[in-house]
Structures are given as C-alpha cells and as structure tokens.
Subunit: 170 residues, 2 copies
DNA sequence: AGTTTAAGTCAGCCTTGTTGACATTCCAAG
DNA sequence: CTTGGAATGTCAACAAGGCTGACTTAAACT
C-alpha cells in the first residue's frame, strides 16, 4: 500500500517498494506478533510452573515421538545441559517417558505419556485457536504469503528441519 | 503451495483448508522463523555483552525519540524494573541519554546518543537485510499476506501500539 | 584395545524476567 | 497551604533458562 509504484521497467523492481521504513514496520510486526503467538500458552504454563522451554520440548516430542535427545537438541538449538534440565522435570512429573534405544542402547527415545499428551493438547489448542483466528481474519491468500515469508526468513538448516517434520514423522 | 485451492466462490470457506496439521506447521514456521529473525542482531550483540533486551530498547527509543520510560514499558511489555536495568547500562555506556521532563519532572525522556544511533544502525541493517532477502524471495504479494497475518496475530493493544508507531512518531 | 559418540551430571556464569520496598514528584481535596 | 494518594522511576534480591567447561558412564565403532 502507500506508494503504489507500478510498472517500472525492470524485473528487480519488486525491491523498489521495500523502503527501510516498511522493513522496519515488518520487523516490529514480527516482534509484536510473536508476543501474541506465545501469550496463550504462556498463561497456561505459568499456572503449572513451567516455561516456554517446557512447551517447546513437549511440542516437538509430540511431533516426532521416539525422537532422540540429540535430535531434539538440533531442532531446539540449545545446549544439552539446558534441555536436560527441562527434560528432567518433565520426566519426573510424568509427562515424558525416556526409553533406552533398542538398536543403539546409548540413545534415549522420548515419548509423551498420557498426561503429557493432555497438556500438549491444551497448549496446542490455545495456540492453534489464535492462529486459526489470525488466518481467518487475513484470508487464505495472505496465509500462503505468510508461510512463504516465514520460510524464507529461516536459516537453511532450520528450513531443512522444518520440512523434515512436515513430510515424514520418521 | 501443495494444494492450490483457487477461486472459491464464497468468503467463509477459507476455513476449510485449515487442518490442525497445517496450523501446526504454521506454528513451527513461526518458531523457526523467529530464530532466524533474531539471529543476526544476536551475533552482533553478543560481541558487545548486550542482549535482546538492549536491542529492543534501542530500537524503540530510536523509533520514538523522547519517549518516556512508562511509554517504553507499555510497548515492550516488561516490568519497569526489568527495563530499568537495561536502560541503566545503556546510559552508563553512553548509548542512551535520559533527560528529566520539563512539564513533569517525574518523567524521563529517552534519546539515543550518536554512539547509540550508530549501534542502532548496525543492528537494524543486519535485521533489515534478512527481512529484505526474505521479502525478495517470497515476492511482493506474499509480503502483503505476511503483514496481514502478523497484524491479526497480535493482541489488540499491541496492534494499537504498532499503528501508533507507524503513523505519527508523536 | 583404543577412540568416538550419546547421554547425563555438576558447577558456575549471564541475561532478563519477576516481586517488594522505597524515593521523588505531582496534584487534588481538605 | 498542607497533606495524602497516585504516578514515575530506582535499588535489591530472586528465579528461569540460556551458556561454557569438565567429567562420567555406557555403548559402538575401528
């Protein structure tokens, strides 16, 4: 919007409308939107004395059941000490189960317990509800664009991790 | 991509394609993209022993020079104690200047110093470069959709704050 | 047998959120 | 004019969750 700068000659002209000011607005929108994005789960987690770190672990274990600790580490992008602290409380609280690997006994495979799945649903429902509402408000075309920009904003390795999760729940 | 579901007749049917699975993908995309979004500034900040909190403060002070602490508080959504700690170091390091209000001496008005503006540029340049690249890769139509969804995902008060920043730098 | 890999632990640090207590300033009601 | 409450900002102390580094245990590879 704003300056409708149409029909310039060259093909690189999709760049012309990207003023620094508009990029800044995109940056701020990302900041504010991310807050909204995490707000609902945060409220639920606060009651349980958990944090976002627990949410992330639960989310990805649910997404890829049986994943190993190392695998999770790569996805979450934290150190194993940091993850371990969170994982330990989740296992102690009976939300996550850790099974020794059959093929490779060094590995631990992670699963959600029934209670874990319950909390996952609760968190996920809240977050999806907001997502759904936003998608609905913006319309289907906007959603496609949204996903394209997000995808392009990731680091390459994350893009791989993301499409791996998308396709096969190996 | 995937299912190109074009030219539907009515507007309400935009809901049909929002399976839980697709919402989940959106959620994950948001998570991974936010990491990319902050990655470049984070690297710069790490060298200076600053964190994201410093970046946010610098960003919004630059955006609305002369803003009060209270104002900034509302935008950043943290407690004043938390902000104060960050602000103190920025002032001590000569990046931010705090002037006592003329009308109301309780208020402090915040400005970036020359050094502050310099760091702001450096951080902003990095972040904008990634944003610009993502926008370019996704195309102008996608950008519009991206912004629409983000806007719809914010809490209402943040939407107000955002458009206030967009329009007048009061 | 020796090396590498997966996982876990302990200790200690930093950033950045929180609450609680407190000083200063302003303003309005008595 | 004074006084008490509200607003603004500061200081202190604590917790979550990142980080690094050093180390152990067990299993797998070579």
């Amino acid at each position: 919007m704003a300056d409708g700068r149409t029909g310039s000659g060259f093909s690189g002209d999709s760049l012309l409308f990207l003023t620094d000011e508009q990029l800044r607005q995109g940056i701020e929108a990302m900041f504010f939107a991310y807050r909204g994005f995490t707000a609902d789960p945060d409220r639920i987690l606060a009651e349980l004395a958990y944090g976002r770190a627990h949410h992330r672990a639960i989310h990805f274990i649910n997404r890829a059941p049986g994943t190993t600790v190392n695998n999770l580490l790569a996805i979450l992008g934290v150190t194993k000490q940091s993850l371990n602290r969170v994982l330990r409380t989740l296992i102690a609280d009976g939300l996550v189960e850790s099974r020794v690997g059959k093929a490779d006994k060094r590995e631990r495979h992670l699963f959600l317990t029934e209670a874990g799945r319950e909390l996952e649903s609760k968190l996920s429902d809240a977050q999806r509800a907001r997502m759904r509402a936003a998608y609905k408000e913006a319309g289907p075309e906007a959603v496609t664009g949204f996903r394209q920009v997000l995808e392009a904003m990731m680091d390459v390795d994350m893009r791989r991790a993301h499409s791996k999760l998308r396709d096969g729940t190996s």
